[in-house]
């Protein structure tokens, strides 16, 4: 791997050298395939997704495969994380009926989170969810589960009512509301679910890239080094901010999924 493959921008370009700022672009999110099987390319985000899976499983396997009644520190941390999703998301949003969906929500939260967390890990340094295929896949799966639960709980007619006819409103409003609800629940929800996660990670990565590249770009002269220092400081601030956003987006994705499921589980009125 040459240095420009690793860093994905012009490294010999600096301020005051008649050289434009090599701003990050869509190219920052495209990777050469590591290997190809026929028409299918295996690239870095895929590798990170696989390693992330292994990391999650290894962590929770170590904590939960032989749990003790009096937990060690490691098990305690894992229990707090698990309890956060189980009580903080599943029970809080869905209630008692949410118990069967706890494994689904727990998997979703930690998978989304680790994919986001890759943005901070040295050498990886890429939020996998900024590649839209991953959020789209997850949102699609959430949508399928959402629809399945809706129709399984309410039957076909009840399911349609559940999706399109919110109860307890004056009759004329339904003329406007029913189409809106239909479009909102069936088309907009999965779309926004995927795009929200994707766009947050995409934008966050671009921001960090801009200031990282700028730090490097402005080095060389004395004045440039002063600029570079400011840019580097901002990179650090943004990195901390991104840590927060990564967890928050994983949380939002999971809570919204739980909200959809909660609505699907509502008894028909």
């Amino acid at each position: 791997m040459s240095s420009d493959q690793l860093l994905a921008f012009e490294t010999d370009c600096h301020l005051f050298k008649d050289c434009g700022f090599p701003a990050p672009s869509v190219w920052s999110f495209l990777f050469d395939p590591i290997f190809s099987v026929g028409p299918v390319d295996f690239n870095k985000p895929m590798l990170l997704a696989l390693i992330g899976t292994v990391v999650i499983l290894a962590f929770f396997w170590a904590a939960f495969s032989k749990p003790k009644l009096v937990p060690g520190k490691f098990q305690m941390v894992a229990e707090i994380l698990y309890d956060f999703v189980r009580n903080g998301i599943a029970r809080e949003t869905i209630g008692k009926k949410g118990e069967p969906f706890v494994p689904f929500l727990v998997s979703l939260f930690f998978f989304v989170w680790i994919l986001n967390l890759w943005a901070l890990i040295p050498l990886a340094q890429f939020p996998v969810n900024s590649v839209i295929a991953f959020p789209v896949g997850l949102a699609l799966m959430v949508w399928i589960v959402y629809m399945t639960v809706t129709f399984k709980t309410n039957g076909f007619v009840g399911g349609i009512r559940n999706l399109c006819v919110p109860s307890g409103l004056p009759k004329p409003i339904y003329v406007i509301l029913t189409p809106i609800e239909f479009v909102s629940n069936i088309f907009v929800r999965p779309f926004t679910l995927a795009v929200r996660l994707f766009a947050n990670m995409f934008a966050g990565h671009i921001l960090i890239l801009i200031f990282t590249i700028a730090t490097w770009y402005m080095l060389g002269t004395l004045l440039g080094t002063v600029y570079a220092t400011a840019s580097f400081a901002l990179t650090l601030v943004l990195t901390v901010f991104e840590m927060f956003i990564q967890a928050l987006q994983a949380y939002v994705f999971t809570v919204l999924t739980a909200t959809y499921l909660s609505q699907a589980l509502e008894e028909a009125h």
Partner: protein, 181 residues
């Protein structure tokens, strides 16, 4: 990477299907392991711990209730003991008082008895003395009289009656003197 710039970049809003598949596959693996193995395992322990804690609390509550009842029992016993002690004390006091009163009464009685016996003794002695005195005085007087007169008066009952009368008169005078005293 820059050498790719010659090509048209791929639209970042269009998902590439192999990536979707990998993503879902990874999720499926995580979900499967969580749902089948890890979460049931930890849930079992969490439930067990919950039961233990609840059981511990119940046990503690039971122990507290028992301690409370023991304390009350102890307090009741203590109160009973105090009551008993007070009762015994008052009883002892009472008994002491009656004992003292009895002894006092007994002492009084004995004193009176002794006094009475003394009086009786004195009376008897006095009577005996008076008797013997009377006889002696009679005899002496008679002897004296016979010596003076020269003849025996012993044979005459009349004489003896005279002496008796004289002596009774003496007695009466003595009694009268005592009564007035």
């Amino acid at each position: 990477m820059m050498y790719l710039a010659a090509e048209e970049p791929q639209n970042p809003l269009l998902p590439v299907w192999p990536e979707v598949v990998i993503g879902l596959l990874c999720f499926a693996i995580i979900f499967f392991v969580f749902a089948k193995k890890l979460l049931p395992s930890i849930n079992k322990v969490l439930d067990e711990r919950h039961d233990k804690i609840v059981g511990g609390i119940e046990e503690a509550e039971a122990a507290q209730v028992e301690a409370q009842s023991v304390l009350e029992q102890y307090k009741a016993q203590l109160a009973e003991a105090r009551h008993e002690a007070a009762r015994l004390r008052s009883e002892a006091q009472e008994q002491g008082a009656t004992l003292i009163a009895e002894m006092r009464a007994e002492g009084q009685r004995q004193r009176e008895e002794i006094i009475a016996a003394g009086h009786a003794q004195i009376e008897a002695d006095r009577k005996a003395a008076a008797q013997s005195l009377r006889q002696d005085v009679g005899q002496l007087a008679t002897e004296l009289a016979s010596k003076i007169v020269g003849e025996s008066l012993e044979e005459h009952a009349r004489q003896s009656r005279t002496i008796d009368r004289f002596l009774d008169g003496l007695d009466d005078a003595a009694t009268k003197a005592e009564a007035t005293r």
